[in-house]
Amino acid sequence: MREIKAYVPGIYARSEALVRATRDLDRGRTTQETVAEREATDLHDFLEVQREASLDYFSDGLLNWQDIFRPLDEAAEGLRPGPLTRFLNTNTFFRAPAVEAETPKLAEPLGEPFFRIGDLPRGRWAATLPSPHALAHFSAGELSSQAVAETVIGPQIRWLVGNGCAMVILQEAALFSGERDVFGLGEALDALESPVPLAIQLPFGDAGEVLGELVELDVEAIGVDFYATDVAALPRPFPKTLLAGVIDARNSLLEEPEEIAEFGRQLLEELEGELHLVPNGDLQFVPEKIAREKVRRLGEAARILKKEQ
């Protein structure tokens, strides 16, 4: 019997109310406290949707993260938020980490409010962090993946695990270009010394060309966007746990759970590891009301498949 799980890594969509609150904050029309209250309501609603959908790991949605690198840029000595940069081929931008020291160092691991450990069930939640390779690749300046792993991401992972995190998903958006460095990624993963399973998720892109190399890495799970990757490109048999990006976080069109389940059945025939159903990237790319419905449908698809096991 194959293990099937479903969960929602990454940055979740902000509700229209939180959008208004944060806009008002920028315009000096409201206070940080009001925004924090609204974030708490959004978090409560997001956790409730995950509970209703019977997801296997909970996520806090990183609702106050301005982008996947920002809190780490601000917390690490030797890094700071740098130039505005397009995130892959989306219409969303991030601040590239600007390098001020060869070896940046996390002064203190990020805790509340960046990880809402007080609201997450111990041992049943998953955290998302940037892959050290992606952080180094997208930085403005010279930075080694290994240094980022050793002194920034690694300490953060160990802190998360100490606070009940069961799994860490490393968002890896820097493997789609010709300059990809899978060897460097492998070394960085080793340097993380993670006490829990790690997944490398490739959001919003065609992973086909690199999957053959990725399965050789010492990582428990690999995440593939199946709205950008031809399923024919999957190495067979697939020797790892597969985070199958089966919910399209870049389109408002709602998926049919039975259709996802049918696709899941095809994948199960090829897998040696577990099948984890996830969105193909951050759900912040659709409005919150659509994101919520997509989470429900993800849970329903997982329920169908679990029943058949």
């Binding site: 301005q66 199946f226 709205y227 031809d230 399923v231 389109n251 069109l253 912040q284």
Partner: protein, 384 residues
């Protein structure tokens, strides 16, 4: 040999003043807003009596009053661009909400889906295409006619391009039916291609054709998304050609904040494209000089020189992201450098992009400096 004379223009949008934004959005207009209208009216030699009288109501403007406010905002936009010395003007897009929203809200077949993040606490509204889209009116006609009737200068009308409309929309129509889950790249691409060409023929083209029929002889297709997916640049070309097919008009494309190397060799397939208006100064040095090392932001011009595409380059010489006022000498050197690479006959002069994120004060100063710098470049080339 005839004297060199560069054409100067803005790209499209200017900031909207508080009095225009608040009155149309139903928020109270304050005394400071009215003062701002009066100050700029005096500066641009516009009679402000009627406008300030309407704005003095403060709130609850009637539809007729809102229309008059919109007209006045457009007039301020035109005069600001004229007074700064530009050869080619529009109205600073004062009547438009936002470039994507403006295009899809006038088209059948799109539905607003909600707000998503652009970056930090900045968001934009996204729509989904839910059926084959269609525009059946010339929705910018009134806007164009007002500009045409209120300026003696050449008019260039900006339109949001079909590729950008497609790329910035969710797809609940072309992607429906056969699931794209695990599908081949060709199948996914086919759906985007059909959507893009439909957007060109049935969304952008009808409005553009109506404006040309009303007398416009120069249009600008804005494609900020053009190089977002380098593999789809051929589709950008295809949608441009489908948009302007059979329409007799001078047609430019504006592309900004992009990797222009993706455009080659595909731009050679553009049908009758007068020019590419591009952003360069954003990536350039702020020091004067006309050597290669002095002008890193313009290095890509060499690729345009080598390309078989031989249209004009609308040279971005003003950075729209900062309040730094480019000295005329810096503008001059950017133009001289570009003229040295491509020949002055292939150069026209503009800002990198629309100035809507800058205050009117900054925008005006930047444009004045741009025109002064252009004149300096002409003097240098003409030997006067």
């Amino acid at each position: 040999m005839s004297e060199v004379r560069f054409v100067t223009r803005e790209i499209g949008s200017l900031a909207k003043p508080g009095w225009r934004v608040k009155s149309i959005a139903g928020r109270p207009v304050e005394k400071t807003d009215i003062e701002y209208a009066r100050k700029w009216g005096d500066r641009l030699d516009i009679d402000t009596e009627k406008l300030t009288e309407i704005l003095g109501k403060g709130t609850n403007f009637s539809d007729s009053e809102k229309a008059q406010i919109q007209d006045q905002a457009a007039l301020y936009g035109i005069r600001l661009l004229e007074n700064s010395g530009l050869d080619v003007v529009y109205d600073g897009e004062q009547r438009r909400s936002e470039m994507y929203d403006h295009a899809v809200k006038h088209a059948h077949g799109f539905e607003t889906r909600g707000t998503v993040r652009s970056w930090d606490n900045k968001y934009y509204t996204k729509a989904a295409v839910v059926e084959k889209p269609l525009v059946d009116t010339t929705y910018d006609l009134e806007e164009y006619e007002f500009v045409r009737d209120n300026t003696e200068r050449t008019v260039k009308v900006p339109f949001t391009g079909a590729y950008t409309v497609m790329d910035w929309s969710y797809d609940e129509h072309y992607a429906r039916g056969d699931s794209f889950l695990g599908a081949s790249a060709e199948r996914r691409m086919d759906a985007r291609r059909i959507f893009g060409v439909d957007a060109a023929r049935d969304v952008v083209r009808p409005n553009l054709a109506g404006i040309v029929e009303a007398g416009a002889d120069w249009v600008q297709i804005d494609e900020p998304a053009a190089t977002t997916r380098p593999e789809e640049v051929p589709l950008v070309v295809e949608t441009f050609n489908a948009t302007r097919e059979g329409i007799d008009v001078l047609c430019s494309i504006h592309i900004c904040f992009s990797d222009y190397s993706c455009l080659f060799p595909h731009i050679e397939g553009l049908d009758d494209c007068y020019e590419l208006q591009l952003e360069f100064s954003n990536r350039d040095s702020l020091e004067t000089g006309t050597k290669d090392a002095d002008r890193p932001g313009y290095a890509i011009l060499e690729r345009f020189r080598e390309s078989e595409w031989d249209g004009k380059i609308g040279l971005g010489v003003i950075d729209i992201h900062t309040d730094f006022i480019e000295p005329p000498e810096l503008v001059r050197d950017r133009i001289l450098y570009a003229a040295g690479v491509l020949g002055p006959e292939r150069i026209e002069v503009n800002t990198d992009c629309g100035l809507r994120t800058r205050s009117w004060e900054v925008s005006y100063e930047k444009l004045v400096s741009m025109v002064e710098g252009t004149r300096l470049a002409e003097e240098a080339l003409n030997g006067s």
